[in-house]
Structure formats: structure tokens, C-alpha cells
């Protein structure tokens, strides 16, 4: 392979070992037109992903056709520009969503094992492309365990910690949030999953476990579902999530 490297642009052949933009062609000491445009295209896709409106209705419908109870909630960040500047608001439910969840509990006073939240996060595109496909893989694993599922919430303008409030309101032992990750230039549609044992307001990121980089070209839906299953089993065993759980899983592997 290296025999054929004669000039700097031949470095592009090394893209098999790194996704870094190496071996770019120059114009003077600057970048050539082609290089500038291909960078701009990737950036444009990432920007579009951040601002793409979340199609919560479609996700909700898809869940219902799978026989699941599903409802839409909204964070206290009313729109995207507020969401981007006020992460604290993205971590709280708005008043009507709070009411909606409280009603479910006051009517039934139920206990659940898993409260699953599907949230736009920083990339609605990630959820549009991955959430339902992942869900189908995950649902196929559920019958073996008999975990009791709370109604699935589809949350708009949401941050990860919104699942704390939702999980607590639904009286669930564990919260699981599927959320759009911050778009990068390589992937604008990458989904992450965070799980938190005994969800309640004020939990820190150190008390969660995470599966990230779920997208075509990253972690597959099936593999992500298997990893999540393993995390849930371990979380119920240890009755916690976070660093100790991660260590425990490492020691098994």
C-alpha cells in the first residue's frame, strides 16, 4: 500500500485506517475547491439535522401500531432556539405534560419496570432513522423477561435528564431514553441510549449508563438492543446504574 504514496494527496489512500480528512488537495497553501465543498456538504447535513422538526406524531403512531401505549410530551423549552441556549429547560417537562403523566398515575397508581422515552435531542433525524427499527429489535427480546412497560413517551425538545422526571412520574424502576446525539460531520443521524436506575430529578450523568453511536455505519440496531438488554439485567441485579455497573460488566467480559 505504502509503495504507491508519492505525494501528499496519496495520503487519502490511508482513509481506511482513519476517518480524518488527510491528504487534502491544495490550491497554493489553501484547500482546493473540491475539498471545501465536500466539507461544506457534511456540515450542511449536520446543521439540517439539528434544526429538522421532530415528527413525534409519526413515531407515536408507529408505536401504537405495534400495540404499545404511547403519548407525546414536551419539555419546558418551547422551541429550538430556547432549547439550544437553556439546557435546564430541556431537562424539565412543561406543565401540561406533567399533568398528563400525573393523571396516568393517579388513575392507576401502577408500578412499572421500564419507562422508555423517545426524544429528539440534538438530532431529530437520528430518531427518525433509528428509533423504530431499534425498538423492533428490542421488543423481540422482551418476552423472555416479563418486564412491565410503562406507556412510551415521545418527548420534544428534550435533554437526557428529562427521563428522570418522566421515569419518576410514571413510577418506574428504570428509565431508558433513546435520544438524538449531537450531529458530527461523519454522522448526522447517530442515536444514543441512556439508562438510569430509580429515576428522579437531580440524578447526575455519573449515575447513568450509555450506549452511543447507533446508526447505519455505527453500532447496529440489533447489537444495541442486545447491549441494552444486558445493561437492564445488570441494573436490576445491582439495583443501580452508573460507574459501578460499567465496572461490573467489564469484569464479566
Amino acid at each position: 500500500m505504502t509503495q504507491s504514496l508519492k505525494t501528499i494527496t496519496d495520503l487519502k489512500k490511508l482513509r481506511v485506517i482513519t476517518a480524518a480528512r488527510i491528504g487534502l488537495t491544495r490550491a497554493g497553501s489553501s484547500l482546493s475547491t473540491h475539498e471545501i465543498l465536500s466539507f461544506d456538504l457534511d456540515h450542511a447535513r449536520a446543521r439540517d439535522a439539528v434544526h429538522l422538526p421532530f415528527n413525534a406524531t409519526e413515531i407515536t403512531t408507529a408505536l401504537k401500531t405495534r400495540g404499545l401505549e404511547a403519548l407525546q410530551v414536551q419539555s419546558a423549552a418551547a422551541e429550538r432556539t430556547i432549547y439550544l441556549q437553556r439546557p435546564d429547560l430541556g431537562r424539565q417537562l412543561d406543565e401540561s405534560s406533567k399533568q398528563q403523566l400525573n393523571n396516568i398515575q393517579s388513575q392507576n397508581s401502577l408500578e412499572f419496570d421500564l419507562a422508555i422515552v423517545i426524544a429528539d435531542g440534538l438530532s431529530a433525524k437520528a430518531i427518525h432513522s433509528n428509533a423504530i427499527a431499534f425498538f423492533d429489535e428490542f421488543l423481540s427480546l422482551l418476552p423472555a423477561h416479563g418486564w412491565k412497560l410503562a406507556p412510551v413517551t415521545v418527548a420534544s425538545q428534550a435533554r437526557v435528564a428529562l427521563a428522570d422526571e418522566i421515569g419518576a412520574a410514571l413510577n418506574s424502576r428504570l428509565s431508558i431514553i433513546l435520544i438524538g446525539e449531537r450531529p458530527g460531520l461523519t454522522a448526522a443521524d447517530s442515536m444514543g441510549i441512556y439508562i438510569t436506575y430509580a429515576p428522579q430529578k437531580g440524578r447526575t450523568d455519573a449515575e447513568r449508563n450509555c450506549i452511543s453511536n447507533i446508526h447505519q455505519g455505527g453500532l447496529s440496531h440489533k447489537e444495541a438492543a442486545l447491549q441494552l438488554e444486558e445493561l437492564i439485567i445488570a441494573a436490576f441485579q445491582l439495583q443501580l446504574t452508573g460507574l459501578p455497573l460499567k465496572k461490573k460488566l467489564k469484569s464479566i467480559l
Binding site: 490511508l14 488527510i22 487534502l24 484547500l31 435546564d88 460531520l185
Partner: protein, 442 residues
């Protein structure tokens, strides 16, 4: 102080920003009349509660402060801009200025003031290269890889070197933050450096406790890296304090690896880090950032890098805020006597793009910034954000006639990468560096 600050989303998030434009300017009028000496008598964060405040007060140099001691902040701005205030005058007062004084006067300064005054200051540091000389611009080569693949990293290093990057440091952010992983990368860097007799310093940006462990095991540590913040509480969340920084610096100095000098600390900072760690004491993010420079100054660093747009739009919302913050940080750091560089950068959820980075890059070039980042194609594939490319640095060098660190420039010529005029040689036979790829390919 906070109310006088230029608009930053992080100050709104913290609830300390002015609530109207008029209130903001009224706060600046009040600030302009304040005597500089106020900051020696009234601490924004109590002396008893915070070791950074204690460091600032205890190490203040009254002799250096004497020439400006009777000035108000408004006068101080005028003094900074005066013809008579030259490079030497600014150097002489540096140790008499506290971070709060620097931050406060910057709030009274327009962007052009920040550029003009910073440009008068020269802060030179040395390890194996000389960084910060007037008329020079250095770069940190940042060859990150999502899985720390040594071949992938070496390929990016090679690309950087062939584009004239790396004279400030070749610095890798490791994906895995552990002693063995960092040691492996340091050995790779050291091998490449020695094989080609490169006058560069290397660094793996791992936690300082890992660096200490590597020094104990005789690993090849050139620069000691650490992220720092402007309050004791924020530094605690980073797992550091002043004693630990001192311990690591002493340990690295004992290795005596520098050739032209012994500046060996590499600090990174950024507005918003204290609030992000919930340790801001109701102080605005730019003032807290400047307090981090007091921490840096105490350890005679080789490089101080403000990573200006990495933190996200909840702290710096758009290109305008990022540009302002970059100019403030560079000015305040230089005024305090620090070798300031800037990671001119943004994330995809900020209202910013490569044109905003071009603007900040050019303005910092005019300010005399010591170094910037060199990331392949400006796209960091590990940290997932956009910074400046090798080519961006070369644009600035070409535009403003700026040169690499002298030791590195000579090396680029010896290797046949630069011609005698310090231009890239096109279409020439491969330099010996391409041999490196033989080994990478294995």
C-alpha cells in the same frame, strides 16, 4: 462586573447577565470609574473559601502594579492604548495585574482595542521550539483518532508535518483515558520525533494524575497537560488542585527533556467551564476564565489554549459570541503574561460556521496569537467538533507573513517540505517522512 459583560448565553443561563442593553452600558460606566486597586481589597470570590483567590492575592506584585496603581479602570484602558505603552511597559506591569483587573478592563474594550493591545505584547516560551516570537505563528498538531489507532494517528501526524504543522506541540486527545493507552501513544510520538530529529514537543492530553504515573514509570513526558478553571470548586470537579499541578510540574522538570528551554506545562481553559461544573459563585464566565489564567501563570507554562467554542451554544451561542470570547481570552491571557493560543472552534449545534472561524482566525492573527490548532481538514473525528485545519494556519501565515518557530522552520527546509522562501514544494519526490508510512502500513 457580570452586568457589564458583552452578551454571552452562559451568563443568561447563570442568571447574572444584564437584563437590558441600557443596564449593560450603565454597568460599564460604573466600572470605568472604579479604581484598579479595588480588586486588591474586594475579592469576588472570598479569600477564605477559594485557593485561586488566595493565589491571586498572595502572589500579587505591588512593585509591578505601582505605575498603574492610581488609575481607574477607564484610565487603565486609555493607558493601555497610549503610544507610550509599548511591549516593555506591558511586560513590566504583567505581574501587577490580577485576573479581575484584566477581565474588567476588557469589558470596557471594543474588539479593535483587544486586538491592538494584545498585539503590543510578546510572550515567548521554549522547550524544543521557541513559540510566541513576534511575526511567528505556531500550531498544535492534533491527530486524534476515535479508537486511538496508532496507524491512524501516525497518518494524521504525517499529513500535518507535510503541511507545516506541529511546532507548538504534537498533542493527542486520547479516546481511552488510561495510563497504558497514553503511554503507548507517547512512545509512538517519541519514536517519530527521534527518527526524524524533529524539534517538537509531544503531549498526550490525559489527566494529570495519569501523567504523573507515566513519569514515575520513566515514560517520555515532554509537556504536562491539564484542563484548569478559575475556581477551587471547579478545579475539584476536574480532580485537581494547585498542589497537584506543582507536583506534576516538578516531576516533569526533573526529566530535563527540553533543549532550548524548560516551559513544560500545557493548560487548556474555556469560558463556561465553572458554570458547567456548578462552581461559578455568581461570577460571569469571562471573569472566571481569566481567573484560570492566574492558575496557569503560577506554573510558567509553555502553552495556554482557550478552547473557545467547544462548550456549546448554551455558553457561547453564535459566531459573534465565540469571536468576542476568543479575542477577550487572548487579550486577558497576554496581559497577564501568558503564552496564549486559541482553539478556534465550534460545534454543530452552535450558530456558527467555517466563515466565523475564518473571521476569528484572522482577528487573532492580527492580535499576534502564539498558536492555533491544526486538525486534518478542521474536522476532529474523535471529539466531533470543528477547529482549524493545517491549511487555515498556512492561510494566516501567507496573509500576514507569519513564520513557524525558527527551529521547526529549519527542519521543514531540511526535510524538503519548505523551499527557501518557506513555501510548500509541489510535486517533488517524497521526503524521507514518507518512509514512515512503510512502517505504518505494517
Amino acid at each position: 462586573m457580570a452586568k457589564a459583560s458583552p452578551i454571552k448565553s452562559g451568563d443568561f443561563l447563570a442568571g447574572v447577565a444584564a437584563t437590558s442593553e441600557e443596564e449593560r452600558i450603565a454597568a460599564r460606566f460604573a466600572l470605568a470609574d472604579l479604581p484598579l486597586s479595588t480588586f486588591l481589597n474586594e475579592a469576588l470570590i472570598p479569600y477564605e473559601k477559594d485557593e485561586v483567590t488566595r493565589l491571586i492575592i498572595d502572589t500579587h506584585d505591588p512593585e509591578a502594579f505601582a505605575p498603574i496603581s492610581s488609575l481607574t479602570l477607564g484610565d487603565f484602558r486609555n493607558w493601555l492604548l497610549a503610544y507610550a505603552t509599548d511591549t516593555n511597559a506591558l511586560k513590566a506591569i504583567a505581574s501587577g495585574i490580577t485576573p479581575e483587573m484584566a477581565a474588567a478592563v476588557s469589558k470596557l474594550m471594543r474588539n479593535q482595542d483587544l486586538i491592538l493591545v494584545a498585539n503590543k505584547i510578546e510572550v515567548v516560551t521554549r522547550f524544543r521550539t521557541t513559540v510566541g516570537l513576534k511575526g511567528h505563528l505556531s500550531t498544535r498538531l492534533q491527530p486524534n483518532h476515535p479508537t486511538d489507532n496508532p496507524q491512524g494517528i501516525a497518518a494524521s501526524i504525517l499529513d500535518g508535518l507535510l503541511n507545516g504543522s506541529g511546532d507548538a506541540v504534537i498533542g493527542i486527545n486520547p479516546a481511552a483515558d488510561s495510563v497504558p493507552a497514553a503511554t503507548e501513544l507517547l512512545q509512538l510520538l517519541d519514536e517519530v520525533r527521534q527518527r526524524y530529529s524533529m524539534p517538537v514537543q509531544s503531549c498526550v492530553l490525559t489527566h494529570i494524575t495519569n501523567t504523573l504515573a507515566i513519569i514515575e514509570r520513566q515514560g517520555p513526558i515532554d509537556l504536562v497537560f491539564q484542563s484548569i478553571a478559575g475556581t477551587e470548586a471547579a478545579n475539584n470537579t476536574f480532580g485537581i488542585n494547585l498542589n497537584l499541578l506543582q507536583e506534576a510540574r516538578d516531576a516533569a522538570l526533573s526529566l530535563q527533556r527540553g533543549t532550548v528551554g524548560n516551559n513544560l506545562m500545557y493548560f487548556e481553559t474555556g469560558q463556561g467551564s465553572a458554570l458547567s461544573a456548578n462552581a461559578h459563585h455568581g461570577v460571569d464566565q469571562q471573569t472566571l476564565e481569566t481567573r484560570a489564567y492566574a492558575v496557569a501563570r503560577h506554573f510558567d507554562p509553555m502553552l495556554v489554549n482557550t478552547v473557545v467554542g467547544f462548550i456549546g451554544p448554551e455558553y457561547l451561542y453564535d459566531g459573534k459570541q465565540i469571536i468576542r470570547a476568543g479575542l477577550e481570552d487572548h487579550f486577558c491571557g497576554k496581559l497577564l503574561g501568558l503564552p496564549m493560543g486559541c482553539d478556534i472552534c465550534y460545534t454543530n449545534h452552535a450558530e456558527a460556521d467555517q466563515n466565523d472561524m475564518d473571521n476569528l482566525l484572522t482577528l487573532l492573527g492580527a492580535s499576534g496569537v502564539n498558536f492555533i490548532m491544526g486538525v486534518p481538514g478542521a474536522d476532529d473525528v474523535m471529539l466531533n467538533y470543528q477547529s482549524t485545519s493545517f491549511h487555515d494556519a498556512n492561510y494566516l501565515r501567507q496573509l500576514m507573513g507569519l513564520r513557524c518557530a525558527p527551529e521547526f522552520e529549519n527542519w521543514l527546509k531540511q526535510m524538503g517540505i519548505y523551499d527557501e522562501e518557506s513555501r510548500f514544494l509541489p510535486g517533488r519526490p517524497p521526503t524521507p517522512l514518507l518512509e514512515l508510512l512503510q512502517d505504518i502500513g505494517k
